[in-house]
């Protein structure tokens, strides 16, 4: 028995789409699990960062890629998770795990309330509203200094712990984060292929759906938009809580529009049609940034951070103009040679 790549590809072509999906997740999981064995602490912290971005982007992909809605305010949802976790653990001394769960519930509740009014409007106006809401969140956490520490932020947020391990331990945090990311990936993949996923794609006016056609087939578009927004918010909130308990310090600037724009960028580059796109996009963008931070100062003089912004912009424009569906469909095609029904 040989285990060449060709062999695996050959086998994936013979099995059903659902099995292929689990096989792909399995291979991905093994890859993720063995990375820390060979790498040092530094690549692990980068991978942890990719993990945070991946989870938020996965939520955004369900909102933007499945349902075709626009959000430029996901940083607020991410921040909501982080701040609620922080407040509950530092001021009410709750267990970080409970705080993570409660933050996800609360953020989901906010999303439900906001979504119910927000989705009475559609199209590009959502871009304006979500931008404003992101700004509102920023001003709110900067202003409520008694609760959130204001512009300085919150410190000493307790880490998540499991037995003797805490999330201050890089390796423990790595596995914790990626196990959660992979579980959420499985959830998203399953959902994409269920009646919920199909209903969401049917209302996706951005990528070939039609709201009117969906409505006359009995789909309550409002309900599905609100549900996918809640789900998206819960993903962002989980990532936010994990982030807060990992870094143990949070400040309002992290949750500004810049972050929202960055996850949109990741979703577009990775490929918004599939949750896999989140990992591709986040991995690519964080890697590019890391490379630029290390090597750009050797070549050009200037403040750090400027090349990465320019690179993001150029990548975004090039991908949108030449690969409007992002990278994932191309990779999928290369692996599966047009096998239908696999997502």
């Amino acid at each position: 028995m040989s285990f060449s790549v060709q062999d695996i590809i050959e086998r994936t072509r013979k099995i059903s789409p659902v099995d292929a999906r689990y096989l792909a997740v399995g291979i991905f999981t093994i890859l993720i699990m063995i990375i820390p064995l060979g790498a040092g602490a530094f690549p692990n912290t980068v991978m942890i960062e990719i993990g945070f971005y991946s989870i938020v982007t996965m939520g955004l992909i369900m909102f933007m890629g499945f349902a075709g809605q626009i959000s430029l305010g996901h940083a607020a949802l991410f921040g909501c998770g982080a701040y609620i976790s922080g407040i509950l653990t530092t001021q009410h001394y709750l267990s970080p795990w409970l705080a993570l769960f409660l933050a996800a519930c609360f953020t989901g509740g906010i999303a439900a309330a906001v979504g119910r009014v927000m989705f009475r409007m559609h199209g590009l106006i959502l871009a304006g509203i979500t931008l404003a809401l992101n700004l509102l969140f920023f001003y709110l956490v900067s202003g409520l200094s008694d609760l959130t520490g204001g512009a300085i932020g919150m410190t000493n947020i307790p880490p998540l712990s499991l037995g003797q391990y805490t999330s201050q331990n890089i390796l423990f945090n790595y596995y914790l984060l990626w196990v959660i990311a992979i579980l959420l990936l499985i959830f998203s993949l399953n959902l994409a292929d269920s009646r919920f996923g199909r209903a969401l794609r049917s209302i996706n006016t951005y990528d070939g759906g039609s709201e009117e056609a969906a409505q006359v087939l009995g789909i309550n578009i409002m309900k599905y938009k609100v549900w996918v927004f809640i789900l998206s918010a819960v993903y962002a909130s989980i990532a936010g809580s994990l982030y807060a308990h990992y870094t143990r310090i949070i400040e309002p600037n992290t949750f500004m529009i810049q972050f929202s724009a960055l996850v949109v960028l990741m979703a577009i580059i990775g490929g918004r049609s599939s949750p896999w796109g989140a990992f591709l996009g986040a991995g690519l963008i964080v890697s590019i940034r890391q490379l630029l931070r290390e090597f750009a100062p050797m070549l050009i003089v200037g403040p750090t951070g400027s090349y990465e912004l320019i690179a993001y912009g150029i990548i975004m424009v090039v991908v949108l103009l030449f690969l409007p569906q992002g990278l994932f469909p191309i990779i999928k095609k290369a692996i599966l040679k047009r096998r239908p029904g696999f997502s």
């Binding site: 927000m118 809401l133 709110l140 409520l144 951005y206 403040p303 424009v317 949108l320 103009l321 409007p324």
Partner: protein, 290 residues
Amino acid sequence: MDYSIALQLFFSGLNLGSIYTALGLGFFVVYSVTRVLNLAQGEFVMLGGMLVVTFYTKGIPLVPSILLAVVITSLAGAGIYRFIIFPARKFPGMTKVFLTLGCAFIIQGIALHFWGWEFRSLAAFFDTPSIQICGATIFGQTPWVIGATLIMVAGLFVFFGHTIQGKALRACANEPLGARTVGISIERMALFSFALAAGIGAVVGALITPLTMTSYSMGLPLTAKGLLAAFVGGITRVEGVILGGLVYGMIESITAGLIPWGNHNVIALAILVGGLLIRRRGILLTAGKG
């Protein structure tokens, strides 16, 4: 005493309102011609402000500095249309929004490269001193802000309402096919609208630099505020943008004056977003169409 506070709030509201109006005008110009929501508009403002500061501190007098900044920013706007938006003109509106977001990243990166992380500021235009009226203090820059906004608004009114060029611009948005058949080049009009919006943005940048400091990262928040002002009033009409901008400015000024608790921004934004969510199509359009 109360009278002077009211007057003070009124002037600061007018000042803020003018800024938001002028911000909104940039979105209006691009949107009404091309139906593109230009998320790089705030970056034009930042770029304009930065350029003015640079030229002015190099010893060039103020007016030529502003003119130079406007010209350069307009060229940037035209370039963005020609090389990024134009190739995507057949793509869905959301793709174009994301393209302008990409442009915002690029402009931000360039600004960070040239001007670094520091905040830049300017003195009030021509060092105009503050004015005292009935106990209210008006900062020297305020008359310039209000005056320049008035001129821009009047210019746009005349332009869109009474010139052939302006009517052609509107025709592009309402009847693209019809506009083409009567010989209007939609592409040229769109190019012009991007340049015009960028120029307006640069003027706004110059106007606000003496009031708020300018830094490379202020573009996106400005985009958010300007867009909100434009949507609240109704982005498809000049009147809507003016109304939205003034309402936003007044609310922000009043909340800042009346609410002792530091963060008036939250209240003003919440009122605006709430208002927009309730009156879905903006104040003007809802009032007009019932």
